[in-house]
C-alpha cells in the first residue's frame, strides 16, 4: 500500500513536470497534437500505477519522450510554416462577406446547424452581418462583423480615454506579493505609506489591488 502511495506521488510529480514543460494552455486552446499528447501522458502514467509489476522508470521515460517530442515539434512549428500546417492544420474561412463557403464547410465537416450554433454562442444571429468567419485550428470560430454592424468604440466616437492599467494583487491573505510591487515599481516603504493612508495593516488585508495610478481596492480579512 505504501509502495502504491509513493509510486503515485513520484508519477504525479513527473506528470506535472511534463505538463508544465509543455506549456500553460487550457484544454480548449490546445492544438490537436497537444491534446493527444496530454491524453497519452495521462494514459501512460496510469499503467505503472495500475500494474505494480511495471517499473515506474518505463512510465517516466515514456512521458519524458512524449514531452521532448512535443517541445521539439512546437519549436519546429514556430520556425516553419510547413511544419505548423502539417501538425496543426490551418484555419478555414467559412463565411466570406456574408456568404457561406459550402465547399470549405464540407472540407472541415461542419454542418450549417453547427455553424449557426457557434455563431449564436457569439451573439450573432444573422449571417449576412458577417464579413469573415474563420474556423481556427483549435476549433474556435473567429468572427469579424461588417463595418456597419460592429459596435461603436470610444475611438469611433472620438472620446479620449486613457488606459487605467492592470490592477495587480499587492497583498493576498496578509502576504505582500513582491513580484507585483516590482512590476508596479513600488517600494515596500511606499506600500506602507499607502496602507497608513488607508488606516490598514498588511496582516488585516485579505486582498489589496493596486494599479499604476495608485488606485487601490482593499478587501479586509474577515475575523
Amino acid at each position: 500500500m505504501i509502495t502504491t502511495i509513493i509510486r503515485t506521488a513520484i508519477l504525479y510529480v513527473f506528470v506535472i513536470l511534463g505538463i508544465r514543460l509543455m506549456g500553460k494552455r487550457q484544454i480548449g486552446d490546445m492544438q490537436p497534437s497537444e491534446l493527444v499528447i496530454t491524453l497519452l501522458i495521462s494514459e501512460i502514467a496510469a499503467i505503472p500505477l495500475q500494474d505494480i509489476n511495471q517499473p515506474i522508470l518505463n512510465g517516466i521515460t515514456a512521458i519524458f519522450v512524449l514531452v521532448i517530442l512535443e517541445i521539439i515539434l512546437s519549436v519546429l512549428a514556430m520556425k516553419s510554416f510547413i511544419v505548423r500546417k502539417i501538425i496543426s492544420g490551418k484555419s478555414v474561412v467559412l463565411i466570406k462577406n456574408g456568404v457561406l463557403d459550402q465547399r470549405a464547410m464540407k472540407s472541415v465537416r461542419i454542418t450549417v446547424l453547427d455553424l449557426v450554433e457557434l455563431l449564436r454562442s457569439q451573439e450573432i444571429f444573422d449571417i449576412s452581418t458577417i464579413d469573415f468567419a474563420v474556423l481556427e485550428v483549435n476549433g474556435n470560430l473567429s468572427v469579424l462583423l461588417k463595418q456597419e454592424h460592429q459596435p461603436a468604440t470610444a475611438g469611433d466616437l472620438n472620446i479620449n480615454t486613457s488606459s487605467a492599467g492592470l490592477p495587480l494583487p499587492i497583498i493576498s491573505d496578509g502576504m505582500v506579493i513582491k513580484d507585483s510591487l516590482k512590476a508596479l515599481n513600488i517600494t515596500q516603504q511606499k506600500l506602507e505609506k499607502i496602507l497608513q493612508k488607508n488606516k490598514q495593516s498588511a496582516e488585516n488585508i485579505f486582498l489589496m489591488t493596486l494599479d499604476r495610478y495608485g488606485n487601490t481596492n482593499i478587501i479586509e480579512r474577515e475575523n
Binding site: 509489476n53 511495471q54 517499473p55 519524458f64 521532448i68 517541445i71
Partner: protein, 125 residues
C-alpha cells in the same frame, strides 16, 4: 529557448536512463546465466560444489534484484528468483530432473529480461 534547453536536459536524462537500464540488465542477466551454467556443469562432478554455486547464484540474484526491478518487469525477476531457489532445493535433494527443469525456467526468465532490453525491429514493433 528555455523549454528547448529543458527538452535537451530531459533527452539526456532519458538517454542515460535507457543506456544504463540496458547495460545493467544485460550485465546482471549475463552473470546470472554464467553462474547457472556453472551450477549445472559442476553437478555432474560434485553435488556439493554445485550447491555452493547455487547458493552463490541466489545471493547474486538478491544483490541484483533492486537494479533489475528498476528496469525490468518485476514478475520476470521474481520468476527467475523462484527458479533459482528451486534449483538450490533440487541440488540439495539430488533431483537432477527437477534441477534441469528449473535451470530451463531460469534461462527462460533470463532470456525474457535480455529480450526486453534488446534493440531490434521485433522489440520495436
Amino acid at each position: 529557448m528555455k523549454r528547448l534547453i529543458a527538452a535537451g536536459i530531459l533527452a539526456v536524462i532519458t538517454l542515460i536512463c535507457c543506456i544504463s537500464g540496458v547495460s545493467i540488465t544485460r550485465n546482471c542477466a549475463d552473470r546470472i546465466s554464467v553462474l547457472a551454467d556453472e551450477c549445472i556443469q559442476s553437478y555432474t562432478v560434485s553435488q556439493k560444489e554445485s550447491l555452493k554455486k547455487a547458493q552463490l547464484l541466489k545471493k547474486k540474484i538478491v544483490k541484483y534484484q533492486p537494479f533489475l526491478f528498476m528496469f525490468s518487469n518485476r514478475e520476470t525477476v521474481e520468476e527467475l528468483e523462484d527458479a533459482v531457489s528451486k534449483m538450490e532445493y533440487s541440488i540439495d535433494s539430488g533431483n537432477y530432473i527437477q534441477l534441469i527443469e528449473e535451470y530451463y525456467n531460469a534461462n527462460t526468465s533470463i532470456r525474457k529480461l535480455k529480450e526486453a532490453q534488446r534493440l531490434s525491429i521485433e522489440s520495436f514493433l
